[in-house]
C-alpha cells in the first residue's frame, strides 16, 4: 500500500466567503461550518473562533484536535466509517492542510478535557500552540447526557475538519511525502537480511467516555488486528475519549502518529517495518488477557524480531502495557515501550501502576503530576467555569488574577505516549 501525503503549508487562517487556500493562508467560511455542525439536534449552538500561535489566547476545555485532510485519489475518503463510507484507505493521494487544526471545545463533557495556551509557559508543553486553530465552541442541547454530548462533539469536529479539508483538494502541495508498506511476502523478499519490526498501537478503550474508533468501530469491541501504517494517516483511527488531557491521543495525534513516521524513516536501513498491530485497553481482566495474548500472537505470527509498544492513558492501562510487553518479550520479540509517569507532584512516587523487569527499554513522556503556573490570558475561547475541576487541577487552581496553578496533566498533549513531544523525565 502506497500513500502520497501532499502537505499544503498553512501559515495563517482567516474567515472568508469561501473555503480556500491562497498563498499559505487558509480561508474558512464561518457560516458554512456552523450550519454543518448545527445539523445535529444534540447541539444547541456553536461559535467558530480562530486561535493563532503567539496570541495571548487560552482554549479550554478542549475535547479533540483534528487535522483537515482530503482524499485526492485512491480508495475511500477521510475518517472511513465515521464521515465517509467504510472503505479501506491508506493508498493513493491525500492532501493535508499542514499547520491548521480544528479544535472542539466548550462546556465540559467529563472533567478530562484540557487547556491549550497559544503563548506563555503552557504553550511549550502542547504541540497545538504552534497551529492555526479553528475552534468550535459547542453548547449542547439541554439535558443531554454526557456520552451523547461526547458523540455529538466528536462528530462535529470530524465533520468540520472534513469540510475544511476540501479546501486542499485543488491546492498544490509544498511537499509530497511518500509512504509505502508492501505485503509481508514482498518486503521480506526485498529486505532479506533485515530484522522485522512492527508497531503495537494501544488504543484507549476503557469505556464510559474513554473510547477510540477504528473504521467507525468502537475499539473496545475489536480483537487486536493488523493495519497498514498508511491507513492511520487517512483517519482510520479517531479519538472519542475524555481521558486526561495530557495523555489522550487526539485525532490529530493519530493522523500524525510519530512512531509510524519514525519507523518509516529507518525502514529499509535498520529494519523492515511490516505494519501496525492495533489493540485495546479494556477494563475487564478477561479482555486484557485476550487482547495481550492476541497482540503477542500476532507479533509471533508476523515473525517479528522487535516491536515498539505505545500506551494511551494511565493507571488501569499500565496493566495492559505491561501485559503486552511481557507476553511479546516471552515470544522472543524485543520491545521498547512508550509511556508517561504519575510520580506525584514531588516526583517521589513510583511512576506506573504496574511494572515488570522485562520492560527494560522505556521511553517516557514525563511526569504528568508536575505543577505549572499558567498566567492569565487576554482571551479565552470556551470557558474557565470548569478549571477547578478538570483532571489535574484542584480546588483553588483558578486564581483571582486569572492565572491557573495545576498539574501539567491539564495541558492537551503534554505527556503524550506516542512520543509526539521532546519531553522526558530523569531521576534526581
Amino acid at each position: 500500500m502506497r500513500l502520497e501525503l501532499g502537505k499544503i503549508k498553512i501559515n495563517d487562517v482567516q474567515f472568508g466567503d469561501e473555503m480556500k487556500v491562497d498563498k499559505g493562508t487558509l480561508y474558512v467560511n464561518k457560516a458554512a461550518i456552523a450550519e454543518l455542525v448545527l445539523e445535529d439536534e444534540h447541539i444547541k449552538s456553536v461559535e467558530v473562533e480562530l486561535a493563532k500561535p503567539g496570541e495571548e489566547t487560552r482554549i479550554t476545555p478542549v475535547k479533540d484536535v483534528i487535522e483537515p485532510r482530503v482524499k485526492v485519489s485512491g480508495n475511500g475518503g477521510v475518517f472511513p466509517g465515521l464521515i465517509n463510507k467504510v472503505a479501506t484507505v491508506g493508498e493513493g493521494r491525500t492532501h493535508v492542510l499542514s499547520g491548521a487544526a480544528v479544535v472542539t471545545c466548550g462546556r465540559i463533557v467529563g472533567f478530562q478535557e484540557g487547556i491549550i495556551d497559544m503563548s506563555g509557559p503552557g504553550a511549550e508543553y502542547t504541540p497545538f500552540s504552534k497551529l492555526n486553530n479553528i475552534c468550535l465552541v459547542i453548547e449542547p442541547a439541554d439535558n443531554l447526557l454526557q456520552h451523547d454530548y461526547e458523540a455529538a462533539a466528536r462528530m462535529a469536529g470530524l465533520k468540520a475538519a472534513a469540510l475544511i479539508g476540501k479546501a486542499g483538494l485543488d491546492a498544490t502541495p509544498d511537499e509530497v511525502e511518500v509512504y509505502e508498506t508492501k505485503t509481508l511476502k514482498e518486503s521480506t523478499a526485498e529486505l532479506p537480511g533485515l530484522p522485522r519490526v512492527a508497531y503495537v498501537y494501544m488504543l484507549q478503550t476503557q469505556g464510559l467516555l474513554h473510547d477510540t474508533y477504528v473504521y467507525g468501530v468502537d475499539a473496545k469491541k475489536i480483537v487486536p488486528t493488523i493495519l497498514y501504517p498508511t491507513e492511520v494517516m487517512d483517519g482510520a483511527i479517531a479519538s472519542g475519549n475524555c481521558v486526561s488531557a495530557c495523555d489522550k491521543n487526539t485525532t490529530y495525534h493519530h493522523q500524525n502518529n510519530p512512531v509510524i513516521k519514525e519507523m518509516y524513516a529507518n525502514h529499509g536501513k535498520d529494519f523492515n517495518f511490516v505494519g501496525v498491530i492495533v489493540t485495546n485497553e479494556n477494563v475487564y481482566l478477561a479482555d486484557k488477557e485476550r487482547s495481550s495474548d492476541w497482540s503477542a500472537k500476532l507479533c509471533e505470527y508476523l515473525g517479528l524480531d522487535a516491536a515498539i509498544i505505545s500506551q494511551e492513558g494511565f493507571g488501569n492501562p499500565d496493566t495492559d502495557l505491561i501485559m503486552n510487553c511481557k507476553k511479546i518479550e516471552e515470544k522472543g520479540v524485543k520491545t521498547v515501550i512508550i509511556t508517561n509517569e504519575y510520580a506525584g507532584r514531588d516526583g517521589a512516587s513510583q511512576s506506573l501502576a504496574d511494572a515488570d523487569p522485562k520492560a527494560d527499554a522505556v521511553v517516557t513522556g514525563g511526569n504528568s503530576n508536575e505543577l505549572i503556573t499558567l498566567p492569565a490570558m487576554k482571551r479565552v475561547i470556551g470557558t474557565l467555569a470548569f478549571t477547578d475541576r478538570i483532571a489535574g487541577s484542584f480546588d483553588g487552581s483558578m486564581k483571582p488574577d486569572g492565572s491557573i496553578e495545576a498539574e501539567i496533566q491539564v495541558i492537551t498533549g503534554a505527556t503524550n505516549e506516542i512520543g509526539f513531544n521532546k519531553m522526558s523525565a530523569v531521576s534526581y
Binding site: 467529563g110 472533567f111 454526557q146 456520552h147 519490526v197 476503557q206 469505556g207 464510559l208 486526561s244 510519530p258 512512531v259 513516521k261 519514525e262 524513516a265 529507518n266 529494519f271 522487535a306 515498539i308 505505545s310 493507571g315 524485543k334 521498547v336 512508550i338 509511556t339 509517569e341 504519575y342 510520580a343 506525584g344 507532584r345 517521589a348 512516587s349 513510583q350 511512576s351 506506573l352 511494572a355 515488570d356 527494560d360 527499554a361 522505556v362 517516557t364 513522556g365 514525563g366 508536575e370 478538570i390 483532571a391 489535574g392 487541577s393 484542584f394 480546588d395 498539574e407 496533566q409 512520543g419 509526539f420 513531544n421 521532546k422 519531553m423 522526558s424 523525565a425 531521576s427 534526581y428
Partner: protein, 349 residues
C-alpha cells in the same frame, strides 16, 4: 554572603581515636577541623569554615540511636551552623547509617542544608537516599582524594541555595525523584533509536528503570461473614452530594470519611461521584453501583453479614500517585482497626 559556618560529623576512626576497639566512644564536640575536615576546608577556601567537628563511635551511635542523635543535635545547635556535613563514610555500614541518620535529624530539626557521602552499596545509602543528597564515593578511604572535592562542592552549592543539576553531573546518588526535562529528540525518535540498539545488542539506557513492584498479597478469606464488622472503602469517588471535602477529580490529595447512619440506600439526591476518570452518569443515578450500601444493608438484615461500620471512606483513584494511595490506606486502616472493623469491601472503578 559572609563565611559559611559548617559543622562536620565523623566517626572515631577518622578522628584518629581508634578502630573497632574504640567504636563505643560517646559523642564529643571539638573546635575546628579534625581528620577529613581538612580536605574539605581546602576546597572551601574563604567561602566556608568548619567551626566544629562532632565525633561519635559507630557502635555507640548504632546501639543508642535515639539518645545519641539527641546528644549530637545539641552539640550541633551550640555551634549555630549554616551547613552540616557528615562523612564520607565510604563502605563502612554503621558509619553510613550514622551519617544518614544524623543528617536527616539535623535537616528536620535545624532546617539547614545537610549532605553526606558514601559508597552506593553502603546500607546507609539505601536507607537515606530518598531524604538526603548523598555524594557517591568509592568503597574505601583510598578514594578520599576524589570524594572530598565532590562533597565540598555539592555542600557549597547547597549552602548557597543553588539548585543542583542531575545526579550524574553533580556526582550524587539518585534520590529517585522524577523531574521533567526537554530533550533534543522526540519520544518517537528516541524509541526507534532505542529499538535499533536493542535489536543490535548494543547498550542502551532506559528512561525509566522499572521499580521493585510492591505487590500486596490478599488477606486470607474471612471465615464467617455473619460475625464480621464490615466497612466500605472506595476509590470510585462516592461522596455526599456537593463533595464537601472538595476531593479532586484526579490526583486526589486526600480522602474523606462519611457517615452512613440513616441511609438504607444511596440516592442521586444524597450522594454523587467526585471521580473525573469515568462517565459519571450511571454512578450518579445510582451511587450504590460503586458503593454497594443497598446490598450490604440487605445482607446485614438477612444475617449474612454481622454488621456494617458506620462510616465509609472515599477517595478518587484517578492519576493519584502510588505513594499517596499507600499513605491514605495506611492512615484509614489504622482507623478501621481501632473501630473494630474485621472486613473491608474495596471498590474501584
Amino acid at each position: 554572603m559572609s563565611e559559611i559556618k559548617v559543622v562536620h560529623y565523623i566517626n572515631q576512626f577518622f578522628a584518629g581515636i581508634g578502630g573497632e576497639e574504640k567504636a563505643d566512644v560517646k559523642p564529643e564536640l571539638r573546635e575546628g577541623t579534625v581528620g577529613p575536615g581538612m580536605a574539605l576546608e581546602a576546597v572551601f577556601k574563604d567561602d566556608a569554615k568548619i567551626v566544629a567537628t562532632v565525633i561519635c563511635g559507630d557502635s555507640y551511635y548504632n546501639e543508642n540511636i535515639e539518645s545519641a542523635t539527641a546528644e549530637i543535635l545539641e552539640m550541633v545547635k551550640q555551634s549555630k551552623p549554616d551547613l552540616f556535613i557528615a562523612g564520607p563514610a565510604f563502605n563502612a555500614g554503621r558509619y553510613g547509617v550514622a551519617c544518614g541518620s544524623v543528617c536527616k535529624a539535623v535537616k528536620d530539626e535545624l532546617n539547614i542544608p545537610v549532605v553526606t557521602a558514601m559508597y552506593p552499596e553502603n546500607p546507609g545509602a539505601d536507607l537515606f537516599k530518598k531524604d538526603l543528597i548523598i555524594v557517591e564515593t568509592g568503597n574505601s578511604a583510598a578514594t578520599m582524594r576524589k570524594a572530598a572535592p565532590l562533597l565540598a562542592g555539592v555542600a557549597l552549592k547547597l549552602a548557597h541555595g543553588e539548585e543542583l543539576a542531575g545526579p550524574e553531573e553533580e556526582g550524587y546518588i539518585p534520590r529517585g525523584i522524577r523531574k521533567n526535562v526537554f530533550l533534543e529528540e522526540t519520544g518517537a525518535r528516541r524509541a526507534v533509536d532505542m529499538l535499533v540498539k536493542k535489536i543490535n545488542g548494543e547498550s542502551f539506557k532506559t528512561e525509566y528503570p522499572m521499580p521493585e513492584f510492591d505487590r500486596v498479597p490478599p488477606n486470607p478469606a474471612v471465615k464467617d461473614m455473619s460475625k464480621a464488622k464490615l466497612a466500605l472503602v472506595t476509590s470510585g469517588g462516592i461522596v455526599p452530594k456537593g463533595n464537601p471535602d472538595h476531593i479532586e477529580s484526579s490526583s486526589a490529595s486526600k480522602y474523606g470519611k462519611y457517615d452512613l447512619e440513616g441511609f438504607d440506600v444511596l440516592t442521586s439526591e444524597s450522594h454523587e461521584t467526585a471521580h473525573g476518570g469515568y462517565d459519571p452518569v450511571y454512578a450518579n443515578l445510582d451511587p450504590n453501583r460503586v458503593l454497594p450500601l443497598d446490598v450490604v444493608r440487605d445482607m446485614v438484615k438477612e444475617g449474612k453479614i454481622g454488621s456494617l461500620h458506620r462510616y465509609h471512606y472515599a477517595t478518587v483513584g484517578n492519576g493519584t500517585s502510588v505513594a499517596n494511595a499507600k499513605k491514605y490506606a495506611a492512615s484509614l486502616s489504622k482507623d478501621l482497626i481501632a473501630d473494630g472493623v474485621s472486613a473491608v469491601i474495596l471498590t474501584s472503578t
